[in-house]
Symmetry: C2
Subunit: 357 residues, 2 copies
């Protein structure tokens, strides 16, 4: 039972947390009895861009499509490549080309992590953000007119399709139905964004009619963000458009203490192409190169990847190792969590805990 | 010295908090020596829509344009009128027709209000969100194609103009320059929204070059929302597009305890048309009719209105009355603040405190 994994570390702290993600992945392979065939690629990075003038080699699609999954670090180095060039030339390209239309992001307050919200304890916050990942506000349609003049006008289209909206809603409703609370919240803004968002609402209503057992509600994105802070315990599965999902899946982890531990899966549920797993955090130029980045987001992403690959026990093993190391706390943790540990010392501690399951 | 004010209470709790806003306004007029000529209008409400099939009478523009300011409650009653119909037919129409291109929203942790953020005290959080209020993501351009089929496609344009972007940036930079910290933060998402947001960034850079004394930085909206929760003390003036400003100006007040107290000004700085002042909260159908809504957002909006009308002492008097009543706390406060007061009892307490300044 061998899983072929394409490994792309990317930029900045991506290069520092990836080795720890791999260490835990290998520890899980040994402990749970499967093999990992990991092939590393240096593209999707600013360094590669500097040498080649593009983020990816021409043959990337054929090269990567045969893998079982892509394990991704972080990309972006704005001093060298503008963000929209590096992101549209790599990560956003993968999501779209490999039709990874679900971006699944757990928001969970873990033991040992202090929430910035007063009085919230582990167990109080435990939900999923299900983000549409291929269309919506992230579009490539638009442009500039009357450039450089006072009439300069810049237009960008938001594009929603029935196919795109319905399939993300179906995934979210299916997920809600499997969970205990069976509660789905839709993020909208149909009072202000008056063409696409009322359409989103209509499709939510149509889909809700097919899921009798799921309690459904909706909030406009402004008050929904407010409620993440005021009432994080209200949520179970939150489904959102590309942009709204992006916002909610950074805000959620912030409410649970740190974005450094949050993982995500860019999932192609039809399995026509590989899915991609990556921490929610970015390349963090401000702390890159110091060996202090928190590796938990990358390691938790390995757990999500294994879940997707059918290794449920190994996935659970990694998550429980993370939880026990965080709960034990102390100096083992990285600085952002109040410890004195480094990226690699915390990574080693978690890998050892996996071996010990 | 008489100020002519158009009063539009709107729907739901708008009708309950407006009398308290007026009571404080009149108390301030008596105390600080000016007159208020307040004319009430019943339009921009679901009731009006039911009777007339539209939100506003045909002559609204001519009728309202002569006033010195518009004092607004809240609009929206989705059981009767879809939100996008009621909002585009009233509030959003006012903002655009009267060219109220600045939406100014203070985010301040007040004495007596408990922040949901652990360990934050009054003084720790004190900044402004400056929101573009007439263009951007709130556009009327777009539509549906292939309706009712599997190919159904819905498109909505985001439209940014040099005029629109530059004037909001100028307002925000001017404001930052007047404040002690002289710090401006721009909300962007140029890594994902790859046409309009890079343009926004360019204009911010161009404008920053004209304001030497202002320290400028930018965050993508996802991590910016996270930082409102993690580091609310980092901000001084935050400038944002229409949608991002909408989100940030609900999230900010949530971080300072309650949206019920937050005010906003929809300002036409050129004074070619009246500006409009309203609480940040909506019509709140869930608590409407019970007399328990918090009137502070409406009363604080009266203070912002008086500031705009040149009554700086009266504006400061209202704000200090609000602060002293909140700081005294106890049963006088409404339920959302832990008291047992009603909309009108809290309103009366604040009006009395204004008279006592
Ligand atoms: C009601 C709605 C259209 C409005 C907006 O999005 O502008 C409101 O949320 C606000 O912030 O004033
Ligand atoms: C880097 C950026 C383009 C990306 C996004 O907006 O999708 C990131 O914020 C994320 O959430 O994965």
């Amino acid at each position: 039972n061998t899983h072929r994994i394409a490994v792309i570390a990317g930029d900045g702290i991506g290069k520092e947390v990836m080795p720890e993600g791999l260490r835990s992945l290998r520890a899980a392979a040994d402990r749970y009895g499967f093999a990992v065939d990991a092939v590393e690629f240096d593209y999707a990075s600013a360094e590669y861009y500097l040498q080649h003038g593009q983020m990816l080699p021409d043959g990337w699609f054929e090269e990567l499509r045969g893998f079982d999954a892509i394990f991704f670090g972080a990309v972006g180095w704005p001093d060298v490549v503008p963000d929209h060039v590096s992101l549209w030339g790599s990560l956003l390209q993968f999501r779209r080309s490999f039709d990874q239309y679900v971006n699944l992001r757990p928001v969970r307050l873990l033991p040992g992590i202090t929430s910035p919200l007063a009085g919230r304890k582990p167990g109080d916050v435990d939900f999923y953000v299900v983000r549409e990942n291929t269309e919506g506000e992230y579009s490539s349609v638009g442009g500039r007119m009357f450039e450089g003049t006072d009439r300069e006008t810049v237009i960008q289209d938001t594009v929603m399709t029935r196919t795109g909206v319905d399939r993300i809603l179906r995934y979210a409703f299916d997920l809600a139905q499997k969970r205990e609370k069976k509660h789905l919240t839709s993020a909208t803004k149909s009072n202000g964004i008056s063409i696409t968002m009322p359409y989103w609402d209509e499709r939510v209503e149509a889909m809700a009619a097919q899921y009798d057992g799921v309690r459904t509600d909706k909030f406009h994105i402004d008050i929904l963000c407010a409620n993440f802070v005021l009432h994080p315990d209200w949520f179970d599965v939150v489904v959102a458009s590309n942009l709204f999902g992006d916002i909610l899946s950074d805000l959620g982890p912030a409410c649970t203490g740190t974005i450094g531990v949050a993982p995500s899966g860019n999932i192609n549920p039809d399995r026509t192409f590989p899915s991609l797993f990556e921490p929610v955090h970015g390349s963090a130029p401000d702390i890159a190169g110091q060996g202090i980045a928190n590796p938990v987001g990358q390691i938790w992403s390995a757990s999500m990847m294994l879940e997707h690959l059918g290794e449920a026990d190994a996935a659970a093993g990694i998550l429980s190792a993370i939880e026990s190391v965080l709960a034990a706390g102390g100096d083992a943790l990285t600085r952002d969590l109040g410890g004195t540990g480094t990226t690699s010392s915390l990574g080693a501690t978690i890998a050892a805990a996996i071996a010990d399951r």
